[in-house]
Symmetry: C2
Subunit: 303 residues, 2 copies
């Protein structure tokens, strides 16, 4: 019991500390608002700031397993957070989910305008790849290009973009999806990037394949648990708690595991997934404590 409390305590300190470090790294990497096109830079910064930094935290803690230099982990974390931020900006657009609120602030197309939001998303995606490819991220070109290759796969047509397409089509069709279809949608839409975030530390650390696969599997299961937690939050929390509009899945008739299984069974499934995720870390020692804590507390998060 006291061990659980200690783990929760450690996580509740480590997460915001990592988030602050990632924020500083993003601040240094993103273009300063100056020149005639500064509106674009402002929108990129607006989009990239804030958020829980789950993905970046996974990079940092994954990298810790292999003694990777902090600067390498932080730049990689920042790149993935840029990619994630771009996806939120585009998902929020009127032609997509048409959302007004994100991370407790007006969405980018609300605070700026649609054209600026599209361009800021596009430029953030380019910046993510550019950051990974830069020499400062890792001295070994083979490591950098492997990060680029894996990010492109996680983010592209067979990953995040494909998942968002499935989501749009499901909403248009209005037909209920079954559990395997929902699982595939969520694996593509959010799972692949979370999986890559966990794997990135192993790539940076040139880890043996077995450990790289173990971290990827941890990320995959954690991502699935995290998605259910997100859907539970949408079903049960207020907009104020969540920092974004909630209840919208039910409103849109969107099939999630929560609507399909009910709140209690969905919560149980998320817990089972989190336990499975933790089991993938069996070959890792005490250094993986924060990763285990993250999985254990994913289902209990309040925003």
């Amino acid at each position: 019991m006291s061990e659980t409390v200690a783990a929760a305590d450690a996580l509740s300190t480590a997460l915001p500390e990592a988030a602050a470090e990632i924020e500083r790294t993003l601040d240094a990497l993103l273009p300063r608002p100056e020149g005639a096109e500064s509106r674009l830079f402002e929108a990129m910064r607006y989009a990239a700031m804030g958020g829980k930094r789950l993905r970046g935290f996974l990079v940092i803690e994954g990298a810790r397993q292999f003694g990777v230099a902090r600067a390498s982990a932080l730049r990689t974390a920042a790149a993935i957070e840029m990619l994630h931020a771009y996806s939120l900006v585009h998902d929020d657009l009127p032609a997509m989910d048409d959302d007004d609120l994100r991370r407790g602030k007006p969405t980018v197309h609300r605070a700026f305008d649609e054209a600026t939001a599209i361009l800021a998303g596009d430029a953030l995606q380019a910046a993510a790849f550019g950051t990974l490819a830069d020499e400062d991220t890792h001295s070994d070109a083979a490591v950098r290009v492997e990060l680029v290759r894996c990010l492109a796969r996680a983010a592209g047509a067979r990953g995040m973009c494909g998942g968002q397409m499935l989501d749009m089509l499901a909403e248009q069709a209005g037909a209920p999806m079954d559990e395997p279809a929902i699982g595939r949608l969520q694996l593509l839409k959010t799972g692949r990037l979370i999986e890559f975030s966990a794997e990135a530390g192993a790539i940076l650390g040139k880890a043996p394949m077995a450990q790289r696969h173990a971290l990827a599997a941890f990320g995959r299961e954690l991502g699935a648990a995290f998605q259910i937690a997100d859907d539970l939050l949408d079903a049960t929390a207020s907009a104020e708690q969540a920092g974004k509009r909630t209840g919208k899945d039910a409103e849109a008739g969107k099939a999630t595991l929560v609507s399909l299984l009910g709140i209690e069974r969905a919560r149980l499934q998320a817990e089972r997934l989190a336990e499975q995720a933790i089991r993938h870390l069996d070959s890792f020692g005490e250094r993986a404590g924060l990763l285990r804590a993250l999985a254990a507390f994913t289902v209990q998060r309040k925003n």
Copy 2:
């Protein structure tokens, strides 16, 4: 005189041949339309097919100077054409230039819908970086990651996206721009990617820096000449000839070098830029004949 005719002839054969090869490479690289999300794959293919392939041709002819393997050049050409195609899809969106016609076909958001167009553009950008990062593009990871780094710079906030932001802001402001401002806008919006297209062959061929810089400078001047030719076409050609709506610069009150200098002086400036471009190839031998011909005939193109 007969030398000029021979060069024009060679170019008029080589360009469509290269375009067909690039098209076949794109066909092999882009995901096949299958599965529940096939609408996304269809839209990506629809967006990527067709076009003059100026950028891809520059990659291929640049690579020829250094004896680069054809497959490497073609994959790099295809990646840059994916990036270019994504930029057209997003530029055509209602929130941006709001165009209905592109390459003689309905634009992607017209043929599909806005959400699909946004996602297809996003996925094409990811695919461009993923293609460059793939082992099949070049055996040397340092070469691949250098291609990624330079493409990210050309396409991002300080390149193409920044240029499109300037374009949107200029249209909203309605205030006339002067020649330096127009020049900077066009350098960012189209110039940087054309510059990189010419430079890519030197990167693939691990060319000495002097030759890499010469090719980049060639691309930069050619890009500027090409942009004026594009604006001349917009001012003088019919939509049928151009395969897209024309006269729209004047209609939107958009400042171009053509509106600022008049048709004849703009044409002269394009010719001067083309001559400067060719001079950067002085240290290259006969192998650069098609690049010289491309610059020489850029101003005379009809679509």
